[in-house]
Amino acid sequence: MNAREQNLLKSVTVTTWRFRIWVGFLLAVLAVGAYAYVLQLRQGLVVTGLRDQVSWGLYITNFVFFIGISHAGTLISAILRVTDTEWRRPITRMAEAITVFALCIGGPMVIVDLGRPDRMWNLFRYGRIQSPIIWDVLSVSTYLVGCLLYFFIPMIPDLALLADRHELAPWRRRLYKRLSLGWTGTPGEKELLERAIGVMAVVIIPLAVSVHTVVSWIFAMTLRPGWDSSIFGPYFVIGAIYSGAAGVVFSMFVLRRIYRLEAYIEIKHFRNLGLLLLSFALLYLYFNINEYLTIGYKVEGPERRLVYDLFFGRYAGAFWTVQTVGVIVPLLLMLTVLAWPRYRQFTVQGVSLAAFLVVIGAWAKRYLIIVPTLQTPFLPAQHLPENWTNYTPTWVEWSITAAALAGFLLIYTLLSKLFPIVSIWETRAEGEPTSEVSVAGASRWWRRGTAANTTALVLLAALLVFPSRAQAKAPRKLPPQPTVITIESHVVPTPASEPTGEAAPSQPDSHRVYFYAGPWLNHPPPFGGQEEKTEPPAIAVVASLRNPDGTPAAYKAVTFALQTGFGVLQLGSRPTDARGHVELVLRDQRYGAYPITVSFSGDDEFAPATSRQKVEFGLPPAPGLPRTGVLITPYATPGIGIPFLGFYGFMWVVFTYTFGYLVLYRMRRVRQENGNRTKGGD
């Protein structure tokens, strides 16, 4: 073990009093947060500033923020590994650590936001793949496992190295021994390790892109102004990588200062990551312009109020501050220290300060994406108290937020004590890292996979005009008599086409035909969707009015009424013809059997009479869910289920392959073979 390794291990072996105070402080913040959460559990979310109008706030902001920060590991580590960039070696571990810890904090923020965390199990018991929430559960959990593996696998050789350090406490050495999985460092093992890392690095990139896209879809899948945007996926991904890279730079700065890692984390790392951050600042600026110009230019419908509030109204101060501090200032700052030779000496400080601003701005930006939209509902907020329409986070939310940050820092602190934060075996190398791979070359990788997910709904309206029929009866004269009413009904045969003069509303109103993904996203038609209503036939109700002898009562007004579930539908009155018949043709959109009452109110010659008879209208459509509904079925639909389950299922298969097969199984085999060979050689 040389001096370099001794030095790197110092962060693991030496504990100072400053460290203890820091940990104590973080624990205190966590305790306050825990108290606040207990309070929230007991009293409900009423202790927060959230109400029906603004029902998501700080917690969801934190969730999106931490998931965003977690993209650092992927970017710095996976992309630089895949492109085989040499200078990455000292910083990959830090980046991966940030990913894992940010996910460990970000994921639970959603649980904190739940009204009934005790029923969380329902997500697995009744989960519907059609819901963006389930997509999130799927993607974040997959990503967490993937990142844990990706953090852990490259650490195995270092763990084996630590297990041999005699100055460490026995429990720690036992832990390292356990975790190192019996690593002995033979070339066969190394090759397998490199292969496992390589596979993980490749699959983790699309996985990371998918995770933040899915996070954005929670918002983009709603109809709300400001969220209902097809740019949201890539916008969030770029924003996430931007904030994540900034997180890595800032943590590099801090750890470098604390653990005196100046020899490993050099100015060139800040410079390279600064260039990366700069290019992402430009990209993010571009996305911001895209997002706000398109809604600000048109100011359509409900977005008008949102745009006004953001640009000039109640959020204007916050909005412009965040855009300036989070994007413009870091951009200028980095340009100064990176591009202006005169200020090059301030590269480390300048880039780190810019990164710090980016991280702060990223959090505030998430808040400004979530809250103003919710405060701009479609229907105006009326008759509600001020605190229902205006969201102000309470101390409970702030302390839980602080606790989340403290938890993140605490995990980081403790694990940086437990595990070396700079990879020892990777930096131990065949000479110093030499080539400085240009960032521009590497960045081609990150721009991939951010293709916008745009789903287009095309509506076509078709107007079907059906003919209706006229009816005309010529009256004739007859003698008067007392009354008996008989009712008959029959289906009026519908000739294919017959010109019409009658204004009676006839046919199905404009059938809007949807060319949207409905049939594909739902089950295809034969699978139990509600049947298209077939036009019910026209029904002719014929009543004949006569006296008991059979003499028809001609030219009498007869009233028709139909008994419905809730009341009586008056169908109007008609005169009888010379034969005492009266025919009423019903072309209503009615199905099933209904009693029809025919009544005659009586006059000088005939006594009043009433008769009632059940009349059969068309056969009702079979019960089912409406076909206009998209993705509303209680069961999974293949159109949406297969892509999601397929993608994340594939990830799990790869994880099993890399960790289960390559790392656990193959490595043991290699060691056994080695052992046998050495024995045989003796």
Binding site: L45, V46, P505
Partner: protein, 268 residues
């Protein structure tokens, strides 16, 4: 490595067999995951398609519907399952009252977004809310453009009457902390052939309710009218038609109002 012809054919045969096996397994799996039949709770007690028609010309903003709804369901404070808004579409047209129950959309965004199926569409058109299952993620609140959903931020104050019965998603009480609430068209009333509370309480007879398959809707005054006739002749519209939610609540335009509008009422 050289591959013999026999070996290659063997590979093809084995590959085909493997494909068939994978196909069979995935088909069996798919039939378990992507089921076709509806679960029992999605099937309504009878074959109906409920619709509501609100005649805005008759509404005088008295909020009797809201009060009746509150009394019926012991609605927690600060929630309006049917809320009366004062709407001004444009300054020239003047203001009118707009009662907003749950729209029971045929393409309901809330149902689509619910992760656990706590809100679901029934075959009679009602969007049900099951608070035995709701996890309180409030995605449905974010999804609903009508603001028809409320959340129990705290444990709502209970009455003895409310607590006397076990929870049912038909009458929707007792209310529980941390779950989402909304109008359900009073399914327990419909079972008994009674109008929903708001429709039967409307003194103006502005709220009509009925079965689309009967092609008839009835209001509190016992007036039954043909549904397709008033929607056509009355130029009925649905709220935010452009969002494609396909609501089951229709409005008749507030033309020739009989009662003072919100603005006139204020000046009076």
């Amino acid at each position: 490595m050289d591959v013999s012809r026999r070996g290659f054919f063997g590979f093809l045969v084995r590959g085909a067999a493997a494909l068939v096996a994978v196909g069979a397994v995935s088909k069996a799996l798919a039939s378990r995951i992507f089921r076709e039949e509806l679960p029992a709770r999605s099937i309504a007690p009878s074959n109906q398609r409920w619709v509501m028609v609100i005649d805005l010309a008759k509404c005088d903003g008295c909020r009797d519907c809201t009060k009746a709804c509150r009394a019926m369901h012991f609605v927690p404070p600060m929630q309006d399952w049917i809320k009366v808004f004062e709407i001004t579409d444009n300054p020239t047209a003047g203001a009118y009252w707009l009662a907003r129950p749950c729209m029971h959309c045929d393409n309901p965004p809330c149902v689509r977004g619910c992760p656990v199926g706590a809100t679901f569409k029934r075959t009679d058109g009602i969007v049900m809310q099951d608070n035995d299952r709701c996890i309180g993620c409030r995605n449905c609140i974010a999804q609903c453009p009508y603001g028809a959903r409320s959340f129990n931020w705290a444990d709502p104050p209970h009455t003895a009457q409310e607590m006397a019965r076990p929870y049912s998603m038909e009458y929707m009480y007792p209310h529980r902390k941390g779950t989402v609430e909304k109008c359900g068209f009073c399914p327990h009333h419909l079972r008994e052939g009674k109008l929903p509370a708001c429709a039967s309480a409307c003194t103006m007879g502005a709220v009509y309710f009925g079965d689309e398959l009967e092609d008839a809707v009835t209001n509190s005054k016992g007036e039954t009218i043909q549904f397709t006739k008033i929607t056509k002749r009355g130029a009925a519209f649905r709220l935010m038609e452009e969002l494609g939610t396909e609501p089951r609540v229709y409005y008749l335009p507030p033309a020739n109002r009989k009662y003072p509008s919100p603005v006139e009422k204020q000046h009076a």
